[in-house]
Structure formats: structure tokens, C-alpha cells
Symmetry: C2
Subunit: 111 residues, 2 copies
DNA sequence: CTTTTTTATAAGTCTGAACTTATATAACTA
DNA sequence: TAGTTATATAAGTTCAGACTTATAAAAAAG
């Protein structure tokens, strides 16, 4: 399964947004997702499994609980895929003058 | 439909990769996709419609042909969504020493 | 020690997106 | 002008993935 396939689901994207803010218990993730999407604990758990199996998240055991953390390695694949399109828009980062100048030149070429 | 939903399909991703290299006729896109994915002209055309309808591509008329071009505005939404995860990995751009140092500090905190 | 909590997984259900065939329409060609 | 090319859309089909209920197993609580 490709990284984009994983992110092609709104529940999984939302879970990753939550994890980007810090580690969470499975149960806490379930509570938020149930409220926002109205699906069951088992449904959320299945999404968590997809994330684990595809490298987007890790889970450590804490008694009967699982503590989930984001793993952003697959995000880098997404980021890399986007690279081919970045030439079409202005860099978002603060950059050296040469980078800024390069960005402006690209912009002019596209307009 | 969310931008990630659109990219959650391998055919559409491939079409966008092709368009990133430059404008293409519908028929040429169909030829490549038929060879790589084995689906019909109508199938490809439906994917092209999804891309048009969701702002990822534009089509201008040239006689009986349609010439497709990529529109990267929705990519920027993807890029923006990724922003929350970039703190977890090293910046790809050459950066000021402070940026590099900041990147390394983040990396250590995560390991 | 029994009951409760936590959460992953199994097994079953269902629907919409990805596919097909068919075709309409516009443009081109001979 | 008739036949061909190009391509979008309509209508129908199908199956994979997102969902449910049920439950097993581990840990915690009383």
C-alpha cells in the first residue's frame, strides 16, 4: 500500500493530526474519532492497524493500554513526491536571497 | 472531496506525474495509462474528470482533442497539511546554520 | 479471585468508487 | 458529404475497504 493510499482516508488523516501533537492512548484516539466521525472503537482500531502496518505510527504497550506515536517516515515519501510540483509554486520557507531570487524567477516563468 | 482523497488513487497520481512534465493530450495520457494500468479510455477519462472537478488539472479544447495541464493549487493544500510533520524530520533545503542546528536538536529529541 | 477495563482481531455486511460497454457529439479527413 | 477520429458522459457491474457486532486476551481494580 502506498503512503498516499493510507492518507486517502479522512479518519486516518485525522488520527495523524492528533498524533502530530504528541503521543496518545488508543482509547483517547477512539474518543475523539467517535465524536467527530461517529464510528466504533473497533473501526478506529482497524484504522490504527493500517497506520501501524504501513509505518505511519508505532504503539507501545502500557498495561492493557497502547500508546500511539506518529512515525513520519512515510510522510517524507509524500513530501518527495510533491517535489516535482514545487517548481510550480513559491517556496514557503524563509530562504537565502539566492533562493528567494530563484523563487521569483520561477514565478515569473509560470505567470 | 479532499485533495488527499483525489491522490488516494494510483492512476490519478500517475496522471499528475505525467502532467508535471508538461501538457499532454487526453489521448496520450490514455495510451500511457492503458499500458501501465490496463484500463479503458473511458476509465482514464473518468479519472481526468475527477482531476478537473477537483482543481488538479485543466483542459483546453484543440479541435476534437483536449490538452491537459496540471494545476498545482490543491498540492499546496497537501504541502500545508504536511507542515505539521516537518518538524519531525530534517529540512530538505539548504538552510542557515541555525536552521540546521534546530533540525538536529529536533531529531535528537525524537530518537 | 472475580469483575471490569482496554484494545486488538475475527467474521460478517454493505456501498461507492473504479471499472466496463455503449454512445453522443464535435472535429477532421478524404 | 460520408466516414473516421477523439473524447466526454451515461448506464450498469463489481468488489475492496470501511463499517458493524462479537469476542479473546491481557491487565487492572476491588
Amino acid at each position: 500500500m502506498h503512503a498516499f493510499d493510507v492518507l486517502g482516508d479522512p479518519v486516518r488523516r485525522r488520527i495523524l493530526e492528533l498524533l502530530a501533537e504528541g503521543e496518545l492512548r488508543s482509547g483517547d484516539i477512539v474518543a475523539v474519532i467517535q465524536r467527530e466521525f461517529g464510528i466504533t472503537q473497533a473501526g478506529v482500531s482497524q484504522h490504527l492497524k493500517v497506520l501501524r502496518d504501513n509505518g505511519f505510527a508505532t504503539a507501545r504497550v502500557d498495561g492493557p493500554r497502547r500508546i500511539y506515536a506518529v512515525d513520519t517516515r512515510p510522510m517524507q515519501d509524500i513530501d518527495a513526491w510533491l517535489e516535482r510540483f514545487r517548481q510550480f509554486w513559491e517556496p514557503k520557507l524563509s530562504a537565502l536571497d539566492t533562493e528567494i531570487a530563484r523563487g521569483r524567477k520561477q514565478r515569473r516563468a509560470d505567470d
